[in-house]
Symmetry: C2
Subunit: 399 residues, 2 copies
């Protein structure tokens, strides 16, 4: 399994484009299109927020068929809290894309990210859709990755190649997200494309598994958006068929997970105001669920995250978050290590000299390992520090 | 029911003192003692964190008797993650206080707040306990209120007087807390004293009710500490007996709740870096629990709190937090108002002009009212904004 250059068009049979439709200010790219040359198996993982943006509602419906041809994404406007009119807006854009591509309306999946509560500037977008379709090219993956960004500082792309049953196949993808909700915006978006052949049900299952182990284990600010969307399209051009419970399926699942992990890490690295990453690993919980809940409580704690920003380790904040989590354990058995240095043992804080203490949080990626000694459950979260820049970005962002 | 000056010695039969024992730097007051002239009914509400500080473990045990005479509190050190040795430290201080007061060890309740993972400087504290006991006076309530502070900017005291069954009686109290956990520290502490006569079981029940409606409905940073403690002592000097289910009991409960509400508000007003308060009210949930969980999700959302700091209302952030909460509702029925201005109606964001929008978050105390139209459940939270100062305080605080 090898990392290769490229993103959402790394797999054979996909083209992409990104242009400015005037949704964002300053002619920034804000409209992306990804097209599969052939009908593709399609799967999605959508936000569990009870309030859903219009494109999420529409895509959820269209994903039921398990087949799609293209994905139209805009940034700058979430098209959420926009009622029935927002649904009409989204459908109008999908129809225009279908017309420009010679496809059916139902073949188009939709996603939006940006400010909640505003209507899309539909006429402006309709005007550029033909031009967007004409720009489609295997070379334009980066333009598409740029067009889906909001407060992100960098485009996020990755691609993997491997050999299954003697044939070369690939997955590539792009993502955006700088907060689980970015400022006044929503969201994390991701599009994955692959040239393997796979049944939609199997693709859906493997995508869900990969997302639950990667995207669902990161946090910038603990927020859940109204627009979070992960799409996967499998076009089949590599002539490799992935069957359930086969060696090929295990290999494909591993590749999918590696790719989503990479994109998830890129999101946290680009977290709003983030200067440092923290991996929280919980071992020895009674169950995996308790371990994951414990890891989440620590990773989402403002005090742990500001500690990481400050660079001075404070085991009390970590312990308090562990104790506040739903995980059941004997406090006198608690162990905590930062990097390879134990800082709590047998429930007692260990003395750490000032210079060592300062060094513990220096690495750009810090690992906090928590052992509860209550069972065999494991959990893991990746997060970033909470800095003054995060507050600045989110307090000053204009609506 | 009238607000009167004073704090923890406003009720007849209580004395207090606060001195510096050298636990904090710079000779700041850090040791407080509150004494009841007569054996007092005693009740407490303690943190539900699984990791408990040594004084919390000891006080929990001693509260079982339902009687106490004195409360010894230190700030600057939480005496948490200190193992059996930390328990010995706390007991040694309690014994010294009992000796200085001519009381039994079991008559002394204990609380600590400050840095987690450090041992108390016991010899230094033992040296000042006799002097602390000598300083006890009804006039010294403010010194006691100062001695329990950590990152708080202000002491927090309040007292109420009323007439029950023709006799004047009082409750007074003091509190500390500037984060649910303050920087590298833990906690919220509160001591309430009253001159009514009341059975410990009834006092415990009324205290729990008052705490659940006040202290448990505030948040500075959503954190739960290892040391949170609320104590109440009832000395009986007013010769008013409070019996369960009587008119007097309802009056006393109302007074207790008004007092804890006042102290809870003082804590949020003094929240780390806070410049503005926000009251989140949820109506029309299926149950009170769902309403409260929804209010908590909004009140603890970093994006809602940074929005409050920035002063530019963003209804999307509020709606996304409502949708992420466990409350079940029909999104197309959602209503949100900021102050008296509706901003979401029928699940759709309303257009608000720029100047009105800016004015919505101007008041020092902003009310956000959310109606789910799913039932009759109600909930409420009081919180503050998340500012760059909060991050600065918590990132830079030295361990």
């Amino acid at each position: 399994m090898n990392w290769i250059p490229g993103g959402v068009t790394a797999a054979a049979g996909f083209r992409a484009a990104g242009v400015s439709a005037g949704i964002k200010r300053g002619r920034k790219p804000d409209l992306a299109l990804i097209v599969s040359d052939a009908p593709a198996a399609a799967a999605g993982v959508l936000t569990t927020n009870r309030i859903l943006a219009a494109p999420v509602l529409i895509s959820r419906q269209r994903l039921r068929r398990g087949v799609a041809r293209a994905i139209l994404i805009n940034s700058g406007c979430a098209n959420c809290l926009t009622g029935a009119a927002g649904g009409e807006d989204a459908r109008a854009l999908g129809r225009a894309a279908a017309r420009a591509l010679g496809l059916k309306e139902r073949d188009i999946l939709l996603a939006s990210t940006g400010i909640i509560g505003r209507r899309l500037p539909v006429p402006r977008i309709l005007r550029v859709i033909p031009q967007l379709a004409q720009a489609l090219s295997r070379r334009h993956h980066e333009a598409a990755a740029q067009a889906i960004l909001t407060t992100d500082l960098r485009g996020k792309e990755a691609a993997l190649e491997t050999t299954i049953a003697g044939r070369r196949c690939r997955i590539g993808g792009m993502a955006k997200g700088a907060g689980m909700i970015a400022p006044s915006m929503a969201t994390m978006l991701c599009v994955l494309t692959t040239d393997v052949e796979i049944a939609p049900e199997l693709l859906r299952r493997l995508l869900r598994e990969a997302a639950s182990r990667t995207f669902n284990r990161i946090s910038v600010d603990g927020e859940m958006s109204t627009n979070d969307t992960v799409f996967a399209l499998a076009g089949g051009r590599a002539r490799v068929t992935i069957r359930a419970s086969s060696a090929g399926s295990r290999r494909f699942a591993a590749m999918l997970q590696a790719l989503t992990q990479r994109l998830a890490t890129l999101i946290v690295e680009d977290g709003e105001g983030a200067a440092r990453l923290m991996e929280v690993e919980v071992l020895g919980a009674r169950t995996d669920d308790e371990a994951q809940a414990c890891a989440r409580q620590v990773a989402c704690s403002p005090l742990v995250k500001t500690m990481l920003a400050g660079g001075d380790p404070n085991v009390g904040r970590i312990a308090a978050a562990v104790g506040a989590s739903p995980a059941r354990f004997d406090p006198s058995a608690l162990e905590v290590a930062i990097g390879s240095t134990p800082v709590v043992s047998g429930g007692v804080a260990l003395r750490v000299g000032k210079s060592l203490a300062r060094a513990l949080l220096k690495p750009p990626r810090v690992t906090v390992r928590i052992h509860l000694h209550a069972g065999r459950g494991r959990g893991r979260m990746l997060t970033c520090d909470l800095t003054e820049a995060y507050v600045r970005i989110n307090a000053r962002y204009p609506t």
